[in-house]
Symmetry: C2
């Protein structure tokens, strides 16, 4: 009989998750029935959205929710041949049997590491691409400000804007990230909002104003950007992390949008299915040409998923946090 | 020699303007030279924007700035024949000589009072029309919330939305205005935000949510609306009067726009020249059919302009405040 392993939540974390909140559990795995298949997990994505689930709808003593990439090892579904690479949301399981719901075929480019399909060529990539180009209606040569510019979405936004011939300023929370933005990602200026006065630093970095502010933060970041928006400026709103859970600074300067005819517009990753083909084509060629840089922290071994989760919440990752399960 | 009269500011008001801050001054008026004409003022518009000017760029001992409608009485400009009705921004002068700059020909509908060209068929009308239909992208049958719904802009917005088959809820600041909105303007519900808890009253009045919130107020009004916006909702931002001068409540609930894909967009009256012909045609027929109701407070006599200004700032007007200079 085949077996699998699962990462279980065995106790709801009190604040920061600890190793004994999780368990690696071995379980039998049945053979796939008619219309089913077995998928071996290859890489698992570790994401910030998981933390609130641990205190909410994540069941105890079941596999953690989550997404990843896998390979079909047994198949009773003709459209998923053995050996096919798939994208799935089947959770933290070493292998699993599925009828194909929530699983999609991936045709990965052999010239790229598979892991990029979990960030630059995945959900964070199309969020950046659709948010900047469609919602932000970016035009060549514009002045662009990106908050959390070293993050998974922000770093792609900033580099797409550079590819499109824009002048790009980013904000981030450490001097190491400022260096990465300037030296690797090629931004024109970067602000450490934890050590610099944001409003003054932004005004100095963007003396001719802002055409597009890619919003991930809200609060004081938004107020600082609002004072600098140009007439006809756009603010695609991807997130307002500073204001979640009722915290953060409120916004006082919204009336700036009237005479400047500024547009704020909210969106989510799933708003851009019509852009997907063009996104995959553009992003694949940009990655292969080295025009989009990224950072990954990859832990080797299924059983290290709890370590990856804890590391993510403690900020020990650089860029996307991933668990490699098999090659 | 012809004479004219002008309303002068003779002292900058300390708080609320008083009668002796103004003077009615008689002055000689020269004959129009080559390429010039004389215009007799017929109706003058009295507007809230004038107050800050009295403490700012309004010169002392000169005619007050302002707009109105006049009739050409002497003309050396063929495109402005004697008897033509014109729209002008020539200030509070009984008659004046002009080379035509800032003056435009008006072709008023004989079935309508001339005064409507200073509100429903003027700047406030096209602000409402363009803001609701173009910026708000209003669709038939939608749920619409209008703040300051009894005001010059808001009352037109609310009634256009009713004409377009929408369900319309308005907020206003007195029970008299609530009655006017329900009984005259035909709104589906109206909230007195000074006596009712706005957020709860709005949630009760709009149980299925808001498609379009026409924003004139900001602060607590915006926060209340944000909690009720439907997916794909639009917030055309015409004004945020509660937040001017740094006062009013800050906004805390902006992150509601993300998952609901809400758009906020600022605009001003002059953004819609491409809509002007359609606006004049639609609004003329709506007014003649009695589908757009309005309120006016008309003081008779040029010399009563100071009384009109003071009355406006003391809130003694119902609807648009006007001074009739001549018939």
């Amino acid at each position: 009989m085949t077996t699998t392993r699962e990462i279980h939540l065995v106790r709801r974390p009190d604040g920061m998750p600890r190793p004994d909140d999780f368990a690696v559990v071995e379980a039998p795995l049945r053979e796939p029935g008619e219309g089913e298949m077995t998928v071996d997990n290859l890489v698992m994505s570790v994401d910030p959205y998981m933390r609130p689930r641990f205190s909410g709808d994540q069941a105890l003593n079941e596999a953690l929710i989550g997404g990843g990439l896998g390979r079909v090892s047994i198949s009773n579904r003709p459209e998923f041949p053995v050996g096919a690479i798939v994208r799935h949301g089947a959770g933290m399981r070493e292998r699993f049997v599925t009828d194909g719901r929530g699983v999609s075929l991936l045709n990965p480019d052999p010239g790229l590491p598979l892991t990029v399909y979990l960030h630059a060529l995945g959900g964070t990539g199309i969020t950046a691409y659709g948010g900047l180009l469609e919602i932000g209606r970016l035009k060549e040569g514009e002045q662009v400000f990106v908050s959390t510019a070293a993050g998974a979405v922000g770093s792609v936004v900033a580099q797409i804007a550079k590819i499109k011939g824009c002048r790009v300023v980013g904000s981030t929370g450490s001097d190491d990230k400022v260096r990465w933005l300037l030296e690797e990602a090629g931004l024109d200026a970067a602000i450490n909002y934890k050590t610099q006065p944001l409003r003054a630093a932004l005004a100095e970095a963007m003396p001719s104003g802002i055409d597009v502010y890619f919003e991930n933060v809200g609060g004081a970041h938004l107020d600082a950007a609002l004072t600098l928006m140009k007439v006809g400026g756009r603010i695609p709103v991807c997130g307002m992390i500073s204001t979640y859970n009722g915290g953060g600074d409120p916004v006082r300067g919204l009336s700036n949008i009237i005479y400047r005819r500024v547009t704020l517009q909210g969106f989510v990753a799933s708003d851009f299915p019509h852009l997907n083909a063009q996104f995959l084509s553009d992003m694949t060629s940009w990655l292969k040409a080295g025009k989009i840089k990224y950072q990954e922290t990859v832990l080797e071994g299924f059983e290290r998923a709890p370590e990856g989760l804890i590391g993510l919440f403690e900020g020990r990752n650089s860029g996307k946090m991933l668990i490699r399960v098999a090659d």
